[in-house]
């Protein structure tokens, strides 16, 4: 199961002069098991902060987050994360990167490699098994990062603008692949993006956030049938709606 309950979560940071700045303000949200939710909003709206808190990499100033009823406080392998930056360990080969989480859980090396091979196949990079990350393109690196995050069978996959650094073509391909993986693995996916195109293509629900301090401005249900057509009139209408919401935020 991967049901997340976010209750009254706020996060303030202290500036150097001690003055507090709010990053998140009273965010409450319920995410169903196996749901695909995209977070979108102007930069500095706290969407990354929210994701980091859910990962356990940051602690909320107030409020709490429950995963299937259990409070989240520290990172653990139940919540996998894919970062915006290239986060593969450059000193480990592709297969060793994917096996890392399993090895940390105490899985025997042989078994870990076997499972890792399965996930490598999953993202279609078998022939790069023994390559080092520097030998891969950006898209391939993020594929491996997804495989690495999935290898420990997390209930929730947190993705912080994972395709932000990729070119448009690669981005589209990876979006397709991600949906395929999501269909097969049935994990809950929380996906931060600032591309409405991406959000409309991927999400069951889009959470639009307002500028600092980050609040939920609107939650949009995307009930378009999958596979989705990027240029269908319904998609365009939805994109326009999100665009308008974001424009309001920029003027604020």
């Amino acid at each position: 199961m991967g049901r997340l309950t976010v209750t009254n979560v706020s996060r303030t940071f202290k500036k150097e002069d001690g003055a507090p700045i709010g990053a998140l303000d009273d965010v409450t949200l319920e995410i169903k098991d196996k749901e695909f939710v995209c977070f979108i909003g102007p930069s500095g709206c706290g969407k990354t902060t929210l994701l980091r808190i859910i990962a356990g990499l940051d602690t909320p100033t107030s409020g709490e987050i429950l995963l299937d009823g259990t409070k989240i406080s520290v990172p653990d392998a139940k919540r996998g994360m894919v970062f915006q930056e290239y986060s593969l360990f450059p000193w480990r080969t592709v297969i060793d990167n994917i096996a890392f989480g399993l090895l940390m859980q105490g899985t025997k090396k042989k078994k870990a490699i076997k499972i890792a091979e399965k996930y490598l196949e999953f993202v279609g990079l078998e022939q790069f098994k023994n390559s080092f990350p520097y030998e891969l393109s950006g898209g391939m690196r993020q594929r491996v990062a997804i495989a690495r995050a999935l290898a420990t069978e997390p209930q929730v996959l947190l993705m912080d603008e994972p395709f932000g650094a990729l070119d448009a073509q690669t981005r589209n391909t990876l979006q397709h692949e991600l949906l395929e993986i999501w269909g097969k693995k049935n994990v809950t996916i929380l996906f931060v993006t600032h591309s409405m195109d991406e959000a409309v293509f991927l999400a069951d629900r889009i959470v639009v956030m307002s500028a600092r301090p980050g609040k939920i401005k609107e939650i949009i249900d995307v009930d378009l049938p999958r596979p989705r057509d990027r240029t269908a009139p319904e998609s365009n209408a939805l994109r326009n709606h999100v665009l308008k919401l974001l424009a309001e935020e920029r003027e604020r």
């Binding site: 356990g56 990499l57 996998g80 970062f83 986060s87 000193w91 480990r92 890392f100 940390m104």
Partner: protein, 262 residues
């Protein structure tokens, strides 16, 4: 033969010609201009002395004794320097505990420790090793510290999210491999400094054998051809040690780095 091979061959040829020219000039200057073995032994003199040193077996003793001193110092510097650098770089606050001590001790030239080395350890191998240690330990500490300080946060967080939580594991699986290029550079610098300290320590009579000791000894006998033999040997051995280390590190430990500039 392709163009690359041809070019390589030409470069080797140029290098050989350059070396041979210097040797020829050296021989001519020594024979025709200086004409004094004390001021400038000729190339032939040096070669003959070298053969002599090989024949009477002194060379092997001296090399092995010097390498022993060097190893004692380097190994000690590594076992002590690495953990200190790691602790300083990884744990917040530890920096403030070690830093003042290091900053006071570090500027003292290693050779200034020789009197204490003799008082503490006598005229022993440990004594020479200690001086090498003093020279080598600081570059290792500082480069390990710098390497650990510049471990990218995203690697640490990625590891945490994958269930690698304890400091011990984070250091072992993330920080140490990430800092390895910097640590390796530190060890190379340390070996250079250590090699210099070795010669000085042996010259000051910290030991009764070794390449540095022999330079001083032959100087007292005014056998400058032998002095030159040992000088060249020191240079050559230092070069070999550095090359072997670099090849080992680059081929085995750092092959994950792209575009390493040799």
């Amino acid at each position: 033969m392709n163009i690359k091979n041809k070019e390589a061959l030409r470069n080797r040829g140029l290098e050989a010609i350059s070396l041979l020219t210097v040797i020829a000039m050296w021989q001519l200057i020594a024979d025709l201009l200086v004409k004094n073995k004390l001021f400038l032994p000729s190339f032939v003199d040096v070669v003959l002395s070298f053969l002599n040193v090989i024949k009477n077996g002194a060379l092997y003793t001296d090399i092995s004794v010097s390498l022993l001193h060097f190893l004692i110092g380097m190994i000690l510097a590594f076992i002590i320097g690495l953990p200190i650098g790691i602790i300083m770089g990884w744990f917040k606050g530890a920096n403030h505990i070690f830093d003042p001590i290091i900053e006071i001790l570090r500027p003292i030239p290693p050779l200034a420790w020789i009197p204490f080395a003799i008082i503490w350890f006598g005229l022993t191998h440990q004594s020479a090793g200690f001086v090498v240690f003093i020279g080598a330990v600081f570059p290792i500490i500082i480069n390990t510290y710098t390497g650990f300080k510049s471990v990218s946060v995203v690697y640490v967080e990625a590891a945490k999210v994958l269930g690698c939580m304890r400091n011990k594991n984070l250091i072992r699986y993330v920080a140490l491999p990430s800092a390895l290029p910097s640590i390796a550079a530190g060890v190379r610098i340390a070996m250079g400094v250590g090699w210099m300290c070795l010669v000085a320590a042996e010259m000051f009579g910290v030991s009764n054998n070794g390449l540095g000791y022999k330079i001083w000894w032959h100087y007292h006998l005014h056998q400058m051809d032998f002095v030159l033999v040992y000088m060249l040997l020191l240079g050559f051995l230092g070069l070999v040690i550095d090359r072997v280390f670099r090849h080992y590190v680059d081929d085995r430990l750092l092959k994950w780095r792209e575009g390493v500039v040799m």
